[in-house]
């Protein structure tokens, strides 16, 4: 799922870090968007709609549309398409509107 060779681009990736998605250990690169790291790990369902609980992925990938809100380190409603991945992040599928602790 990651591009290793590209005719135009080279990718300057950060160091490899570990994080968890719903308790599962995964690896990604520091500083890349959480959504990109999840996608590279095969995770495409990021959230569930509030009323009908329909699965949702990202849509715009640049912080405009709110389709990708997840709970990150306990904080709900984080736009994971722009939030950068850090070592040890705890990423969870959000249920409902989310509560502030």
């Amino acid at each position: 799922m990651r591009i290793e060779e590209h005719p135009i681009l080279t990718f300057d990736r950060g160091r490899e870090v570990e994080f968890t998605f719903n308790g599962r250990k995964m690896k990604g690169y520091e500083g890349e968007p959480i959504a990109a790291a999840l996608h590279a790990n095969g995770v495409r369902v990021l959230s569930y709609s509030k009323k009908l609980h329909r699965p949702r992925g990202f849509y715009c990938a640049i912080g405009n549309c709110s389709s990708c809100l997840m709970t990150v380190n306990g904080e709900p409603n984080v736009r994971v398409c722009t939030e950068k991945l850090r070592e040890g992040m705890v990423i969870e599928t959000q249920q409902g509107r989310g509560d502030l602790k």
Binding site: E5, H6, P7, I8
Partner: protein, 165 residues
């Protein structure tokens, strides 16, 4: 038809194909640009003045067939990747087609590749004569491939190392 599938018909192509007498004289640029869009790098890239300067940036490029040497410096400068150089004097049976190719893997000189028409259909095999991929091309490598002469106006793409799709 260009407007519905991006593939020019024979009628649409006709005004862009140089006359047979010119093709017999050596390599020449064929600019498959059919739509007036605001764009002019082909004319600024041309060192021989063959691609005439635009009065209006929306003009279609026109090639002065006497001035064009077929050097191919315009190929990688065209943002639409719409310029090809065809040399029907390459050998008795073959023509050389130079085309822009921004894909991996790049072919090696001497390598045999599939040659494709404007719809992406494989129409035969060709041998890569030259690959230009320097700073000037800026990651738009220009590949020159020898093809049977009757395919000189058909081949506009190559496929390296089997079917990517």
């Amino acid at each position: 038809m260009l407007a519905t599938n991006g593939i020019p018909t024979a009628e649409e192509l006709a005004p862009r194909i140089p006359p047979a007498e010119r093709l017999k004289k050596g390599p020449v640029a064929i600019i498959e640009c059919f739509q007036k869009i605001p764009c002019n790098p082909c004319s600024t890239a041309c060192k021989t003045g063959a691609i005439e300067k635009f009065e209006d940036i929306n003009d279609l490029p026109s090639v002065d067939l006497e001035k064009c040497t077929g050097c191919g410096l315009c190929i990688s400068k065209c943002p639409g990747l719409a310029i090809f150089v065809v040399d029907e004097t390459y050998s008795e049976m073959e023509a050389a087609v130079s085309l822009p190719f921004e894909f991996l893997p790049l072919p090696a000189e001497g390598e045999e590749v599939d040659v494709l028409d404007r719809s992406g259909k494989t129409v035969g095999r060709g041998k890569v004569i030259r690959v230009r991929n320097g700073k000037y091309e800026d990651r738009t490598p220009v590949v020159t491939v020898a093809v049977p002469k009757e395919l000189s106006m058909v081949v506009r793409n190559i496929r390296v190392g089997g079917d990517r799709r």
